[in-house]
Symmetry: C2
Subunit: 367 residues, 2 copies
């Protein structure tokens, strides 16, 4: 299998240092990206898609590392809801990640991997890097920004911080602020990674990586992506390739072997330190806090931007109530906003899965 180390990613090196919310700055930042569809002569048809925690720039087509279809293959392509025969779609790997953009596995100024010497970044830092990418690509104003989950956080942050570049905002299954429960689940994952002796304080590059810890982190997170109802429908208490309980510690139940597989498969394509940094960025995310603790103030510069927000009724990670808070803040600054709660059985992961109603909302909003 190809690995991220052996792939010649399409990417740019930002010409200037990237200032970060921490006060530090990153030099020589690389941003890996993919595009789909042609840019119009007047450059008016660009749509920027932001990916989620463990996503990357490979929205459609075949993923060069996993060999699987892109993560939003069903949504992006000619004639699809985000129609690449009309729109020039751009998706960039966020900084801090591990699919070609600068992150903890990248070499720092001393020629060694940054590891835990990488600066702690924020959602806004991720967005800032992508705006710099657009500068390099010669794209000013975006027809729209689109994202689910952490991608939705970036979409909201983009509107708040770069309103002049943000034509429309489509934010799905997301929140303007990570809650205590959200932080708690991420903290369990981070502690699982850090408890793995192979983590070595982050200095595992070139050696054995902390796959066991990262797999446990992924398993814990994965539960939060699924609804209780969806789990019951998909797995219930069904046994895994056996007729009776084994009275042992093998994966007796299908849900157990499913989770073990999800945990293991994840370690093939993701860097453990990236997982630490990106979960940290999400936990730090609090749009209201950036604007002096009032969410409406964060959106005040974006009152000309059109928003569409979508939640799912079975999403218990970022709930309809979370989204409604965003709607209220947008209402308070009289920004044009439409909001819909869709019914889908898959929990948080609904934004990635077969929900035809979502397709209609996306296609309709992009116009």
């Amino acid at each position: 299998m190809a690995t991220a180390q052996t792939i010649d990613f399409r990417r740019v090196t930002l010409p200037d240092p990237l200032p970060l919310d921490s006060g530090r700055e990153l030099m020589g930042v690389q941003v890996a990206y993919e595009t789909y569809g042609e840019l119009a002569a007047d450059r008016s048809n660009a749509v920027l898609i932001f990916h989620a925690l463990t996503g990357d720039q490979f929205v459609a087509g075949r993923h060069p590392v996993t060999g699987k279809p892109g993560w939003w293959e069903r949504m992006v392509g000619p004639g699809k809801p985000i129609d690449t025969s009309r729109f020039h779609v751009i998706c960039a790997n966020v900084i801090g990640s591990c699919m070609g953009s600068t992150g903890p596995a990248s070499l720092g100024p001393d020629g060694q991997p940054y590891a835990m010497g990488f600066p702690v970044i924020t959602i806004r830092d991720m967005v800032r890097a992508q705006m710099r990418l657009l500068d390099v690509l010669g794209i000013g104003t975006l027809h729209a920004v689109v994202g689910g989950s952490m991608g939705g956080m970036q979409a909201l942050s983009c509107a708040a911080n770069f309103p002049e570049r943000t034509g429309r905002v489509l934010a799905i299954a997301t929140t303007a602020r990570h809650s205590a429960q959200n932080i708690a689940f991420h903290e369990v994952g981070r502690q699982a990674v850090m408890a793995d002796p192979d983590w070595q304080g982050g200095d595992y590059y070139g050696g054995k990586s902390p796959d066991k810890g990262l797999a446990v982190a992924r398993m814990a997170a994965h539960i939060t992506y699924l609804s209780e109802q969806g789990l019951t429908e998909k797995f219930g208490r069904q046994l895994q390739e056996r007729d009776a309980k084994s009275f042992g510690f093998d994966a007796d139940f299908q849900i157990e072997s499913y989770l073990r597989y999800q945990g293991l498969a994840f370690t093939d394509r993701f860097d453990a330190n990236s997982y630490l940094y990106i979960t940290r960025a999400m936990d730090y995310f609090d749009l209201a806090d950036e604007a002096g603790d009032k969410l409406a103030d964060a959106f005040a510069p974006a009152r000309e931007t059109r928003f569409c927000l979508v939640s799912f009724d079975t999403d218990w990670l970022y709930t309809t109530a979370d989204m409604r808070e965003v709607v209220h803040a947008l209402n308070a600054v009289a920004a044009p906003v439409s909001f819909v709660e869709l019914s889908a059985p898959f929990g948080h992961d609904s934004f990635l899965l077969d929900v035809p109603a979502l397709d209609r909302v996306v296609a309709g909003f992009l116009g």
Copy 2:
């Protein structure tokens, strides 16, 4: 600090081998227990309390290992809802646990700790051991059995399997069957323990115990014990002893340091292998399955038993809907049952915390 190894527990050794649901049997089973209040001359006033996953026999008074008050101090004592001036309260450490009853840390027939050679046990096995304890103590019929969470599972199992000994059943915040989501959270915990190299396939006795893995397991489980609302009220996004985010990986948020503390403190008093065995027993629990897949059939022998079921509106681990299934099954066999959903902000842990309405229900039902 005292440890479980240095304490002279009050316990009995069962005279006969204990048959297990797995088909195996355990010889020389020890059951550690505590009692509170006097047994009446006619032996009619015994109340058996079943403890939860990480609980033990020290319901009230001072815990000899932790030095803290017993886990249900607020509920059990003279003049309290379970009034020890009227009732003879018994609570036994479940087999598989680590507070004096036979479990994986106990010495097996070969003079070595059982470790993972301990047989996989079930909730019914736990109850069976406690009925044998009552035989030794000369107690036939119980005035009532009482339990929350896994204690509630034992209470329901006791009614189904030993109806002639079970006068009344008070089952709180529990379920008749572990769901896929319940199993998933436990599986994450088990994988965290087993991923710790100090676990050594379970053979860590006498050496370093897998504290890091067990702490992660406890952290993940702990999130499920609390409500989202409770977490928000208690912690929100408050920072831990600092004015601003550190842009590092220390515990910036109070919820992070709280979870880290909970995970760490747990390893002082609990055996990792016991955690594996007891979570397995809970995951195997499915009362309907024991009766040919119909829950009502499980309760058919208990139609003369009086039941009281209590759920909490913020408990997302064992929900009101789970409890309602039990009520329907009891209705189907015309067993006398009262059911109440209480409002409390603490999630699943409400059964352990200050919920005055629960006190009234408990006192009222015990009569």
